[in-house]
Symmetry: C2
Subunit: 487 residues, 2 copies
């Protein structure tokens, strides 16, 4: 793979001097185009130590308009980063539409270093590779143009280059001890890199291998590739399917889970109070035990308006320490969120280890309200099942327990509750015209929920559908299930 970048190619100073103004113009032009597009770009600079990765970053910043770019250098993770899944630290830096991020170090760095120094198990290595492949595919589909560079130099030329730089008193600072250390591992590092680059190559985001012996050749190659990749990225994204922006309607199958639910299940008030207080005390203990082990819990609530999500959540948090939980209510995204891939807003808020996070509505909005209202394209909601499964899998691998409740009520019960809300002063805020409109789409919501259960009920993150016509029954069910799952 690297042979093509071991030729020792050099270009003349004259040629370089001629080319630079041209490529700068092209860079600025494409950057302007990016600024007006629905895309963002991530430029990853990887490669052997001593190849001048940092110089390339500086050069790009010099040639481009620095005002549209952020640069990030990923050193060892901070503790906030270690408290969250591997990809979190990178995801939180995804640039907004129209902007660029240049990353020195990326999701590849730790992986390659660990593999080189034999600090990662084969199984985990392969899992990470799979993850990277599908995340890059997802990001690309969501409009993030990923441009990956691998700077390579043949070993003997690398040594020659480093020695030359080191002998110049005004340049010697560019070479440090760490780089000499890596040179010793050159062959192993080369082999591992070849493996990783090969396994993660895909049409949407393959590595550009750039021979970095001659800084002039290296700089021009990188710049040219940035231009062409952004141009192609924008063009292919323009061809994507757009959201219809009008409602779609769906029909639930004749026989479905909602028809099998027993809505008559009831718990009377006296019995409920007894059970509630006992379950709450138990929940408190379970959560404390969980937190001590540094494990986490995510509880997701979905269901029609007035199904009792808020009430159930209040019964969960009552016995908890305020510092152990957070309730996150999902409503319209902010513009910073709209300017990024769909799941970004959920990644952004991921709890640290040892916490309980309760979602009142969630990332499932994409396959419920957004699908029905036509806010996303067919392609978007169709691929989001697997994207969501992968997201939940990564959480689960990080020792986060995920429980997803769907509180289900009948249409008659919803009507009754709507009317009740309108007459109880402190409940009026809960009922809006929107709620009445949504009632009209009852069948579509049921159909979408059924498909959602089918496609996203996984062993690590199952859906629990609770008949919730009786609030007491539903709340007790929710508490029981959480406690059971925590055991």
């Amino acid at each position: 793979m690297f042979e093509t970048a071991e030729t020792g190619i050099r270009i003349s100073k004259e040629f370089y001097k001629n080319e630079v103004p041209k490529i700068r113009e092209e860079l600025l032009e494409i950057q302007k185009k990016l600024a007006l597009s629905n895309n963002s770009a991530i430029v990853i600079i990887g490669g052997v130590e001593g190849a001048g990765k940092s110089e390339v970053v500086n050069q790009l910043l010099e040639w481009l308009d620095a005002r549209g770019i952020e640069t990030f250098a990923f050193d060892s993770p901070t503790d906030e980063e270690r408290e969250r899944p591997y990809m979190w630290r990178f995801f939180r830096k995804i640039p907004a539409k129209g902007r660029m991020a240049i990353m020195l170090g990326s999701w590849y760095t730790e992986l390659i270093v660990n593999k080189t120094f034999k600090r990662i198990k084969k199984k985990d290595f392969e899992k990470r590779i799979d993850e990277i492949v599908s995340y890059e595919r997802m990001l690309t589909k969501e409009g993030v143009i990923i441009i990956k560079f691998w700077l390579h130099i043949k070993k003997d030329l690398l040594l020659k280059r480093m020695k030359k730089i080191e002998s110049d008193p005004l340049q010697s600072f560019r070479i440090n001890k760490m780089e000499w250390k890596y040179v010793k591992k050159f062959d192993k590092f080369r082999k591992v890199s070849e493996l990783v680059l090969g396994e993660t190559n895909q049409e949407c985001s393959s590595f550009n291998i750039v021979e970095a012996y001659d800084y002039k050749y290296r700089n021009l190659e990188v710049a040219k590739n940035v231009v062409s990749s952004i141009r192609e990225g924008i063009k292919s994204f323009e061809k994507r399917e757009k959201p219809p922006l009008k409602a779609r309607s769906f029909k639930p199958p004749e026989n479905n889970i909602f028809k099998t639910l027993d809505y008559t299940k009831k718990i009377d008030d006296k019995d409920y109070e007894d059970k509630l207080i006992k379950l709450q005390a138990e929940l408190h203990k379970s959560v404390k035990r969980m937190a001590e082990k540094k494990k986490s819990l995510i509880v997701v609530f979905e269901g029609p308006d007035a199904a009792g999500k808020g009430g159930a959540i209040r019964r969960i948090i009552k016995p908890l320490d305020a510092k152990d939980y957070r309730v996150i209510s999902i409503s319209a995204p902010t513009d910073e969120e709209k300017a990024r891939p769909y799941l970004w807003r959920f990644w952004r808020e991921l709890p640290k280890r040892g916490n309980v996070t309760i979602y009142d509505r969630s990332w499932y909005g994409r396959v419920l309200v957004e699908k029905i209202e036509g806010f996303c394209s067919d392609d978007e909601w169709k691929r989001s099942y697997s994207e969501i499964n992968q997201f939940e899998k990564e959480l689960n691998d990080f020792e986060i327990t995920i429980i997803k409740f769907y509180l289900s009520i009948t249409q008659e019960e919803q009507l009754k509750r709507f009317k009740e809300r309108q007459t109880t002063p402190y409940k009026q805020y809960k009922i809006t015209e929107e709620d009445w409109r949504n009632r009209g789409k009852w069948n579509s919501y049921e159909a979408c929920a059924i498909e959602m259960f089918e496609k996203t009920s996984t062993p690590y993150a199952p859906w629990i559908v609770v008949p919730a016509n009786d609030k007491n029954f539903a709340r007790i069910e929710v508490l029981k299930n959480i406690i059971k799952k925590l055991k």
Copy 2:
């Protein structure tokens, strides 16, 4: 101060049951009003351990619409937080307009605990108090309603309450070891709290001391205060002076700094290249030394369009390791930023220890472009001098070196550069209609810059005004000054 909250007051269950629906209604109503206002609210729950702070948070979340609230519990700081000034962890959680944050623990917690256990020097203690007072004043002026509660119980009643709860197997989890530990320090803690509360009391944000022996009385008192504080906060904020939203004009004084600058200073190209490469090598070393000591550097650039800010920045970053610096270009704020106090967007991006951050334009926008264009009220730009000074002081106290450059060119030179930009292809992107418009406000910009130098040139963050008609001279001056300051 606490005597009024040591009465042992209790209210009947009957009374409570009657009051709760009323206060819930009021809470929801005021929350709706807040949602439509230009204000946000921070509710701080402080007080003695064992008084039920966590229960109060849960109760508020239960009574309010959880969808407009976020809760934060401030435990020991994470390393990302420790890498930044004290207030950073709190500032980054400031809610957006229309929303509420409930904080369990706040900027007071660590201060009171450290004072109680004698872990803070008198001088630092007093400094922190001053800081808190002025930050709270600033936040209030910017529309953040700060509602502070101090839950208090007389010592013997506290012991009685804790023992009672502990003896109930279904409630005992509410009391933990930490709370018993604090009870032992009760008297000292009481004294320190009294001192801190007294010294930070001000009209805009005084502590509400709530007797917490009876949970019913406590909950109602807190809820009532939340309602009235938000109501008053919104009302008094409505009376504030609004931005005129049309341009203001200012006249510079007859004799001023710009007239004393020597714009004829020049460095020829040959001499420049020699000096540049030497200074860059030196800068690299200085920054490495600084980073090793975990100190940081902030370099701010202001000055008219085409003064050469970008060019000077590129000369600074050239010799730096890409992982040691960031360039932040300030343009229009995002909506998440617009929904928060002015300085929030700068707090948000504060670099961690050991880094160089270069600002291409900065927080000084408020006293330059915003002041001139009428984007802020007179009150806002007038008070921002001292707010900015305090901000920079806090950075400086955190071992961040701050250097502020104002690159100054003459009107003729600007015109020459504008014309040149229009004819050089890769420079065209730099010139917009806006730039031509701004030229018409030359005098106003000079007048505002002069006032800015006068009011924000401090010993810890001085302005350096550089005559920049000759780019070579300006760049060398910038590099020299940074190196000098780092020594």
